[in-house]
Structure formats: C-alpha cells, structure tokens
C-alpha cells in the first residue's frame, strides 16, 4: 500500500462527497416548497417573506447558493434547522452516533452468524443444512425490513413479551436496558445481510476449496484443519470484506426503516422527519452524512483488504 494509493483513495472520497453534495443540493433545490413559506407559515406578509428570502439568499442564482452552502459545509457549518432553529450539524451527528450503534451491532451479529453458516453450507454442500441455509437466505433477501421488523415486533414483543417493543435508551444510562431495546432493530436489519453474506461466503468458499492451492495444500499432507482455516477460509473471506462494505449502503437504508418502526432517534428517523417537514438544511446534512459514512466504510474496507491481500497492486 503506497502513499500514492492512499492519496488516490482520499481524493476519491473527496470526489464522492462533492458529487453527493451536488446531487443532494440539486434534488433538494428542486423541492416545490418555498423555504421562506415553510419557515414563516402560509399567513406571513409578502414583505416578511421577501426579507427572509433575501436573508437566506434564496434570490441568488442557484450556483451561488450552492457555493455558499458548500463553503459553509467546508467550515463545518451544516446550516440551521428550519424546524428546530438549532444547528443541524450537531443534531445529525448525535443522531448518527445512535444509528452507528445499531449498525455496528447489526454488522457484528451478521458476521457472527453469516460466516459460520456459509462455511458449513459450503462444506456440507447439497446436504440438508446447505438446503436449509439456502431456503432461509431466500426468505431473508425477499423480506423487506418493514415486514420482518413488524413481524418480529408482533412475535417477540407483543405476543411473547420477551422484549420491549419500541423506544431507545442511551447505552451509557442503562446498558442492559439499552441493549434490550436494541435487540429487535438489530435483528431486523441484520437478517437481510445474513442471507446475502452467508450465500457469498458459501460460494467463495466453494470456489476456494476447488482452487489449485487448496488442493496443493491437501496433497502436501497438511492436516485438514490447517488447510481449512489457514489456506481456505482466509482467502474465501477476502472478497467478503468488499461485499460487506457495499452492504453498508443497504444497511443504512434498512436503518431508516427500522428506526421508523422501533422509534429510535437515529439519523434515519431525523431524515424522515426532515423530509416530512421539508426541513431543507436537515435533509441536505443527513443525506451527506449518510453518504459520507458509506464512503468511509468502503475506504476502511479497502485498507483492510490491502493489508490482508498483498496481491493488489495499487498504482
């Protein structure tokens, strides 16, 4: 991994954020709502509206508005929420922290389940366990989060009363209760990814088990366990890193739904609220922060891959 490669990746993150900011700005600018009307209400006097438009720079040409917004962004200023009157930056980042807790737990749970599942399915290819895993993963990728979430809620919280239905408790205030509240949302978002990633691990593992070097390792007389874990699993998991990173995009989408269902004040819920309220700065900040999270996750995955697989030549 050369400095040049690193510089390229950083440049790419910058480019990604630039494109995302342009896109988000373009989409939100096309919003039919007049920000001034949203702020002051339908009954505001034309004079007051005009004054506010001037103050917000709404009369400037679009590119100038973009430039003002972007340069403020670069200074870390995401704008003021039209809904709460508070700066959106801190609001969105603290929401992001809550979302990342859900996402992190979901990723961990997913890996803990998907990797062994895919491994066993590959080793017992065509066996009953493989078929069962296959069926489950079909179901997993075919159920949208709002269905699984609601059904889980119905079953585990409403029917069996094992878990609290909705709500969020900060981790530091009461760790146990906090985690109890997180079980359902985490379970919901990880299900789709378990289905996807376990299939991926399975097919990669099957490929690797058929590779020449695994055969060579076997025929060198190495113990089966060494062949499996040192030679096969490691190489089968490498491409999975990339897939998991790409799945982060899916995860972030899933989190929007899950936060809505389970009433978690994360970034997804903030976004939905902002969209409903047409709170422009909040929408822009939320979308940008989500995309940034995704880009950073992929950047980290690239670094992990590079460290684990020296074959990649970074030029």
């Amino acid at each position: 991994m050369s400095a040049r490669w690193f510089a390229r990746r950083c440049l790419f993150i910058g480019y990604t954020l630039l494109v995302v900011s342009l896109l988000v700005f373009a989409i939100t600018q096309a919003l039919p709502a007049d920000a001034a009307v949203t702020l002051l209400g339908e009954n505001a006097t034309p004079a007051a509206l005009a004054a506010l438009r001037l103050k917000l720079g709404l009369n400037d040409p679009v590119w100038l508005q973009y430039w003002h917004w972007l340069s403020a962004l670069l200074r870390g200023d995401f704008g003021i929420s039209m809904r709460t009157g508070q700066p959106v930056g801190p609001m969105m980042f603290s929401a992001l922290a809550r979302s990342l807790l859900v996402a992190g737990l979901a990723l961990a749970l997913m890996l803990a389940v998907a990797v062994p599942l895919g491994l066993v399915a590959a080793l017992r290819r065509g066996g009953p366990l493989d078929l069962a895993a296959g069926l489950i993963s079909y179901l997993g990728v075919s159920l949208p989060e709002f269905v699984t979430g609601t059904v889980l809620l119905l079953l585990l919280a409403d029917h069996l009363h094992w878990l609290p239905a909705t709500g969020y408790v900060p981790l530091l205030r009461n760790p146990l209760d906090s985690l109890r509240h997180l079980v359902l949302p985490v379970l919901t978002v990880s299900l789709v990814m378990v289905a996807h990633v376990s299939r991926m691990v399975r097919s990669e593992m099957i490929d690797v088990l058929h590779s020449d070097y695994v055969r060579a390792a076997r025929l060198k007389g190495l113990p089966a366990r060494t062949v499996l874990f040192r030679h096969a699993l490691r190489n089968a998991l490498l491409p999975v890193i990339t897939v998991v990173a790409l799945d982060v995009g899916y995860l972030l989408g899933g989190i929007i739904v899950v936060e809505e269902i389970f009433a978690i004040p994360g970034i997804g819920r903030e976004l939905i609220v902002a969209i409903e309220m047409r709170d422009l700065p909040a929408i822009q900040a939320g979308a940008l922060i989500m995309a940034g999270t995704y880009a950073v996750a992929n950047f980290l995955a690239d670094i992990a891959y590079a460290l684990l697989d020296r074959r990649i030549r970074y030029d």
Partner: protein
C-alpha cells in the same frame, strides 16, 4: 422463447419461480374480477373479522376483506415494480455501454461518478427523489428507476468490457466490420444474458423498495390497496389483527421470492457451461 421457458421449467428454481409468477400474473390480470368483495367495500359490523370462511385472510379495521385488497393491490404493486426496474435497467445499460465504449479517461470519470452516486443508499436516493417529485405511485417508480440506474450501469459496463475483450470481437474488427455491427451483432447477444438475470433479481428488490416507500407514506396513497401501504395501515392494529400485517407481508415476500428464484433459474439456463 418457448424453448427457454421449457428449459427454465426443468430447473427446480426456475419451475418454482415460474409457478409463483404465473399466480401473480393471474392476480394482476383477474384480481379484481375474482376478488370475493370490492377492495373498498366497508363493513363496520365485520371489523377485525379473523381469517375464516367469510374472510379467508380476515378483515381490516374498516371491515374490508384483506384477500380482496391483496388481489386488487397486486395490480398496483407488481407492474409498477417491473416498470421501474426496466426503466432503471435501460438507463443504466445506456450509461454503462457508453462508458465501456468511450473507454479511457471518460470511462474513468463516468465510473467514479457512478461510484460516488452509489454512496447514497438506494432507499435514501429514492426518498429524496420521491420527496422532490411529490408522493405517489408514478413518482415512486421514477425514484426506484433512479436508484437502480447506477448499479445497472456498473454491471452493464463490466459485462460489456468482458465481451469486448473476446477474440471474436477482435476477428470482427480485423475483417473491418462497422461499429454498429460489432456492438449489435457480436457483443449485444452475449451481454444480454447476464443483464437479464440481474434485472430479474432486481425486480424482487424493486417490489420491496416500492412497498417500503409506500410503507413510509411516500408511495401509493390511501385508500389504495398497495401492499406496503396495507402493512403501514395495519400497524396501529398489530395487537388486535395480526393477519392484517401477515397477509400483505407474505404477498411481498412471495413475489420477491418468485423473482429471485426465476433469476437463479435463468442464470442456470443461460450459462449451460457453468456447472455450479
């Protein structure tokens, strides 16, 4: 085409997928005709009627028959998802092919931009688009198409680049074929198969995404009986009438499973040499 269907019916996934999709097609075509009740037929005395002989899948908070609403809703859910996927595929295919064809610096710029756009989660992009265009079925479809286009562009490009490298394309260039012949006669037939497979599987995603948008209140609007909307409507009554959620949820899952199975079946049939 007939031959393809016959081969498809021979693979287990293909046969199961075809069966499910035939049922769905029947629901879309004849749904309102075979539904036992009108979808908006309100019966206050039969509110929250549990599943049984009178209402196979139960009745909702207004006493409307869930099965009838499902059958009617198929018409709004499935074709919309299908159309959105096709539009997204087409847009993506054009961008991907152009990028592969232009090559060099343009290819890199287009692909980097596509990567950047893909940093916005699909659902979020769809939310933003739908919010701008306004709520509604049509706009949700446009949003889904927009969310799918970048991914399809990536796939089309990589498939096209593989086709471009084949020696038979080299042979065509060496005998002086025109660009259009090479693209349409030599490359395209070999590019279509993997894209068809990918598109089929994406319809499953589109069904789910469309339902999700409706669920979040941004897709189809009440009193439509779109499946996602039915789930959203049912949430306050989770406790009293779980069937109101289970039935549309199962319908969505079944549709998605059907398209996923069909996609896997197509993959097997279209690549006969891949033994795995």
């Amino acid at each position: 085409m007939i031959e393809l269907l016959r081969q498809l019916a021979r693979t287990p996934q293909g046969a199961a997928g075809l069966l499910i999709l035939l049922l769905l097609a029947a629901a879309c075509a004849f749904g309102p005709a075979i539904a036992p009740y009108g979808p908006e037929h309100i019966d206050f005395l039969g509110r929250f009627h549990p599943p049984g002989a009178r209402h196979w899948f139960g009745a909702d908070q207004l006493g409307r028959d869930v099965l009838s609403r499902l059958l009617t809703g198929a018409r709004s859910t499935v074709p919309t998802a299908l159309a959105a996927t096709l539009a997204g595929t087409l847009l993506g295919a054009v961008i991907g092919t152009a990028s592969a064809y232009l090559g060099g610096r343009w290819d890199e710029i287009i692909m980097r931009t596509i990567d950047a756009v893909m940093a916005i989660p699909g659902l979020l992009l769809a939310l933003l688009v739908v919010n701008t265009l306004g709520k509604g079925e049509m706009n949700a479809a446009i949003a889904i198409a927009a969310a799918f286009a970048p991914g399809m562009a990536r796939i089309t490009r990589s498939v096209a680049l593989v086709a471009r490298r084949q020696d038979y394309v080299g042979a065509a260039i060496a005998r002086g074929e025109r660009g259009t012949w090479i693209v349409f006669r030599e490359m395209l037939p070999n590019v279509v198969a993997p894209i068809v497979v990918e598109t089929t599987i994406r319809v499953a995603f589109a069904v789910m995404l469309f339902a999700t948008l409706s669920f979040l209140g941004l897709g189809a609007q009440p009193p439509a009986s779109d499946w996602g909307l039915m789930v959203a409507d049912a949430r306050p009554f989770l406790h009293q009438a779980p069937w109101m959620i289970v039935a549309p949820g199962a319908a969505i899952a079944l549709t998605a499973i059907g398209f996923n199975l069909l996609g896997d079946g197509l993959r097997d049939v279209l690549n006969p040499r891949d033994e795995r």
